[in-house]
């Protein structure tokens, strides 16, 4: 019996698929969790239920999903203040993240850290750092420990394009290269440092990749909106790190659909730019990819329903949760659990 040509092309595609259906569904689900949780965070902010600041990753989901899905359980993530996505991508419950954004007792750090400092040690999320560049050297240190103890975990450090112009970036890159550390540096180049276009304030076109050669590293620029490309790149970088071949620096091209933070309406964007990038929306463009690999509309719709249900349930749980309790105010300043600085 002859297959029709379209079906034959599809079987050949599936037969040669290095990612596989289960992982592709996981990538889609992870991106969707981030997308819907971030949109919900924005809605809750408009209702004055998310306090403080928040930096959303809407439009950048493929990077968090792709790098996290390629990790092993013991691998470590070091994130920035734009870290909700990377925290969710490691499997931290949506309720824990939204609870922290809403500064409730059910939050990941019970309201002591806030949106910019999401940390979940059991998930390998070793912190979200709000001082630009600070966590690149810290990720080097975690990688040094792995190297020293002969452990095979990789430290993965996410940061924005703006970070490439701060000293700690350059110190960390050189340090990781000379010590051949198992660390992967992931630059999410979303075109804007905060409000200013990165190209206006950087001597080279590609703020991370064009600096790689200064540290003896390969120049890597990828489409950060394609989860498959991100996933494959992550796998290669982790394999290199685990093999003892040292660090990688990966520049992922992407676009932030919202402003820098909740205070920023992003009026500095030239007309048409946002619309152009919407055509490359990492979540929406992944649906035809799933279909191309034979995944049915029903399966996709079921994931969409499930994730929305999870986000709704998390939202309700957070709305019903108590505010951050006063009795944790002065705990865990020091390792004895107290804030005692004198006898």
């Amino acid at each position: 019996m002859m297959d029709n040509p379209a079906s034959s092309a599809r079987s050949s595609l599936q037969a040669n698929d290095d990612i596989g259906e289960a992982k592709r569904l996981a990538l889609f689900r992870s991106m969707l969790v981030i997308r819907l949780a971030e949109q919900r965070a924005y809605d809750l902010f408009l209702q004055n239920l998310v306090k403080g600041t928040s930096h959303l990753s809407i439009g950048q989901e493929a990077i968090a999903a792709g790098f996290a899905e390629a990790m092993q359980p013991g691998d470590l993530s070091f994130c920035t203040y734009r870290g909700h996505a990377h925290t969710l991508a490691r499997g931290v419950a949506i309720e824990k993240v939204l609870g922290e954004l809403m500064q409730r007792d059910n939050g990941l750090m019970r309201g002591k850290g806030g949106s910019m400092h999401l940390t979940s040690e059991p998930h390998g999320v070793m912190g979200s750092y709000a001082i630009v560049g600070a966590h690149l050297p810290i990720a080097c240190g975690a990688a040094w420990r792995a190297q020293y103890k002969g452990q095979d975990d990789v430290s993965v450090c996410f940061f924005g394009d703006g970070t490439t112009n701060i000293g700690a970036f350059h110190e960390a890159l050189n340090f990781a290269a000379i010590w051949k550390l198992p660390v992967v540096f992931v630059c999410e180049n979303n075109i804007y440092m905060e409000y200013t276009p990165i190209k206006d304030v950087t001597a080279v076109e590609h703020p991370a990749a064009d600096r790689a050669s200064a540290y003896g590293l390969e120049r890597i620029v990828i489409d950060g909106n394609d989860a498959d490309v991100v996933y494959r790149t992550a796998q290669a970088a982790y394999a290199r790190a685990r093999a003892g071949d040292g660090p990688s620096l990966i520049e992922c091209l992407t676009y932030r659909h919202s402003g820098h933070s909740r205070a920023d309406p992003a009026k500095y964007r030239p007309p048409g730019e946002f619309e152009q990038w919407l055509k490359r929306d990492p979540v929406k463009t992944y649906i035809p990819r799933l279909k191309m690999f034979g995944i049915s509309d029903d399966v996709i719709a079921a994931i969409e329903r499930d994730v929305l249900k999870e986000v709704d349930a998390a939202t309700e749980a957070c709305k019903g949760a108590s505010p951050a309790p006063l009795d944790i105010l002065a705990t865990d300043v020091y390792a004895d659990g107290t804030a005692a600085w004198r006898n």
Binding site: F78, E121, M126, G127, E171, F175
Partner: protein
Amino acid sequence: MAELSYRDAVARGIAQEMARDADVVFLGEDVAQAGGVFKTTVGLLERFGPKRVRDTPISEQAILGAAMGAAMTGLKPIAEIMFSDFLAVCFNYIANEFPKHRYMSNGQTKCPLVVRTANGAGSRFGAQHSQSVENWAMMIPGLKVVAPSNPADVIGLLAAAVRDPDPVIFFEHKSLYPIKGEVPDGEIVDQLGTARILRPGKDATILALALMVPRAVAAAERLKAEDGVDVEVVDVRSLVPLDTQTILASLARTHRLFTVEENPRLCGWGAEIVSIVSEEGFYDLDAAPVRITTPHIPLPAADNLEDAVIPSVDRIVETVRRSLAS
């Protein structure tokens, strides 16, 4: 018992801890092959090898950041910042990262590390290599801060700092490196948060730290010999945790309080102690506490100018004498 220099005590303290615990690692600029610019770490590379004793580039942020990442994930790093003035270059780690992560994560993470650094004047290096900056560290919640004044304390407090589960800033004094003192044989482990009465007395209490301790002791001896005044000298040793009980108890015996501080006057460590004393020891005071400090100026390089601003034995004697007489 053997006589050891403060300089050699640093290497002995580090070696004691590295020999005890394979998770103790040491990194800094010129610390391994060169043995340190102050020769405080000679022999460590040879004894413990290049995997544990590591030279770094001139990258203070990388040094402290790497120490933190290693500490968070299971090592016990000792990081050297060559001159304490350079803490300003990597102050983000001192002020924002080491001391806050445990709190911000609601107790999920840890940061057991030691930053050793050469503090203080006497080498005529000028305003960017001679400062006493212990008060920069003291003001930050989440840090511990110690400053030993003698070789035995260098070993004992360094061991306590390495074994402590919190980040400790360890201020060595450049001008104390050549001084010698008796050091017990075998392992020495002291306790953070403990002041020590070096010289008991009944007429006044002098609190001092690091290089100011031998000066305070010398001043006390002169006041005894020349004036018959019996001064108690307390080596504060640990700014955080602060041993306020020893300080308040001393004041309750002597009723007069002096601090001798090398840090510049504004917000120096003695200001906090005087504030505590004014709230909790007010009725023990027979007169206002007196702070003897470096003035609120950048440090000059010239030897005569530097000597004129750092508290000296003469200045301590004259200040105490004048104050007790009034």
